[in-house]
């Protein structure tokens, strides 16, 4: 079985598609996370393949499903954005030989394939549907929801994992060479740090609306506070450090006005969910969380970097697509978990959604109000990547757990958790999911 990448037809990229045809008929039930770490320590049991298996097995167990009932697996094959196995570095043969291998010796170490996972999870005897959702869990979730809705699988696992090696992030792989083909030659090889484009957009945002970077401090403090209540996350597990205004504002610039903490910390992690049909989900161990819609943005900027105007136009479009397919309005959102890694674009997502009625240019003022989980307007109750490290997964886990009433110390109390939205990554180019405690 060769795993294909999800075709474009599986995504809801356009406005005007109407209510999603599978609205309320697909549900997330099980959640599984492997322990996090800052970097891989070289042991077989902590490689990205091993932690992925751990997360998947936990999701299966959490849902209370027998492994032989699972017939689908959707994964993100890429497990890093900036930590690459150095060319010429000896392969870790002891690790490789600890697992059943595919043709690629770095499978399970610096990348993942569905074939590798199935070869090392013998209990998954009935998986006959596998697919890749490129990039992020947000993408893979869209694929999984559509696949279950379309009947390609009835009980489907979805997983996203990250590896992190020693050394400088983003400075290995192709970036270590002297040449890159096409646009990356300018944006990566000779460009600024990864947060550069977001920093430019944020700088223009501050100029346009008369705002300042220090207005981000309450959002950052709130996000880390929420993250420290996320026991699956890096900061909660390893370095329970708050991120107060003094801490945040004293940090050095990476790409001014993006400072160190506006950039998320790379970690090792794996997060997995078990999806099923709404009907089957009724008999599983956890309360089903229903998918009301999934929506995507595949907008391409006109030039190398999206302008603020393009960002605002596209986040507004995304907001309309999210609501249209789910058959809801902004007023129906109990909370939002839009992406935050880089933190400086979270407000673009918020304003595009019109969360709590805010308009373009108002999010930073909104951050100065009560955005806590105890208040009426919870912002990023997951804490996102600011709160738990680079994964692009926390926001989705939190939506499921909030709506199941299993978010523990992070549970929103200022609102009744009924409908949540999560997704990302970038304002231009992302995938979004609307979650609901009820199928209606």
């Amino acid at each position: 079985m060769t795993t294909p990448t999800a075709p474009d037809a599986m995504y809801r990229n356009d406005e005007g598609l109407g209510i999603w045809e599978h609205r309320g008929k697909v549900a997330a039930v099980g959640v599984g996370h492997a322990p996090t770490s800052r970097r891989w320590d070289g042991r077989p049991e902590t490689c990205v393949g091993a932690i992925t298996i751990d997360a998947l097995r936990k999701a299966i167990d959490d849902a209370g499903v027998a492994p032989d009932q699972i017939d689908g697996l959707v994964i993100v094959p890429v497990t890093t954005t900036g930590a690459f196995w150095e060319a010429g570095k000896p392969l870790p043969m002891d690790v490789i030989q600890s697992f059943n291998q595919t043709d690629d010796p770095l499978d399970g170490i610096a990348k993942l394939s569905a074939e590798w996972l199935l070869a090392n999870m013998p209990e998954l005897t009935n998986v006959n549907f596998t697919m890749y959702g490129p990039g992020c869990m947000s993408n893979a979730l869209n694929v999984t929801a559509q696949a279950v809705g379309d009947g390609l699988a009835h009980t489907c696992l979805v997983v996203k994992s990250w590896h992190n090696f020693e050394g400088r992030y983003y400075q290995g792989g192709a970036n270590a060479g002297n040449a890159l083909p096409g646009t990356p030659a300018i944006t990566q090889l000779w460009g600024g740090p990864a947060s550069y484009s977001t920093a430019l957009q944020f700088a223009e945002y501050c100029r346009k609306y008369g705002k300042a970077h220090d207005m981000m401090a309450p959002f950052m403090e709130n996000s880390r506070r929420n993250g420290l209540r996320f026991p699956e996350g890096y900061w909660a597990q390893h370095r329970p450090e708050e991120l107060g205004p003094e801490d945040y504002l004293a940090s050095r610039w990476i790409a001014k006005p993006a400072n160190l903490f506006d950039n998320d910390i790379p970690i090792m992690m794996s997060g997995a969910y078990l999806f099923s049909t709404a009907e089957r989900a009724q008999d599983m161990k956890q309360k089903p969380v229903y998918i009301l819609n999934h929506a995507s943005s595949n907008t391409r900027p006109r030039s190398l970097l999206p302008t603020l105007d393009e960002v605002e136009a596209d986040t507004a479009l995304t907001g309309r697509k999210i609501y249209e397919g789910a058959g809801i309005t902004a007023d129906d959102l109990s909370f939002e978990n839009m992406y935050d890694g880089f933190s400086l674009f979270h407000q673009f997502h918020l304003e595009g959604l019109g969360y709590r009625g805010i308009k373009f240019g108002e999010a930073l003022d909104f951050y100065q109000t009560d955005i806590s989980i105890e208040g009426p307007n919870p912002v990023s109750p997951s804490g996102g990547n600011v709160g738990s490290g680079r994964s692009r997964v926390w926001m989705h886990t939190d939506c499921i757990q909030q709506l199941q009433g299993r978010a523990g110390a992070r549970q929103v109390t200022g609102v009744k958790p009924e409908v949540g939205v999560s997704g990302g990554p970038m304002p231009l180019g992302g995938n979004y999911t609307v979650w609901s405690a009820s199928p209606d």
Partner: protein, 125 residues
Amino acid sequence: MSETEEQSVTILISFDIDGTLEVGDPPGPLTMDMVRLVRDKDFLIGSCSDRTLSSQRALWQDHDIEVDFVVGKHMLADVKDRFDADVYLHIGDREDLDRQYALKAGFDFLWPDEAVAHPHFQPDI
């Protein structure tokens, strides 16, 4: 610098944490007892790290070590302005974030493994 010379000048040492101190992530070769040693020699000491200021303070407090400053990586020049010393030394494990910042701020620089062997970190005989 001889022991006598060491006692007659004011020495300020800035410690990076991760990759430098034993309590860093990753751990470095400089032990907290070595830090206590230079503290007891009346050196001015502190940390210069990408960790938050509050977590740097908490780290020193947890190890019952009184420091004179905690700053971010980019703030070594401020340290030099704040403290009058004869020797300014930063110890860290990164070329870009430690050595380059240190030299730019007018500090001397030692890699952690060099520092371990330096007379500053040897007990007075």
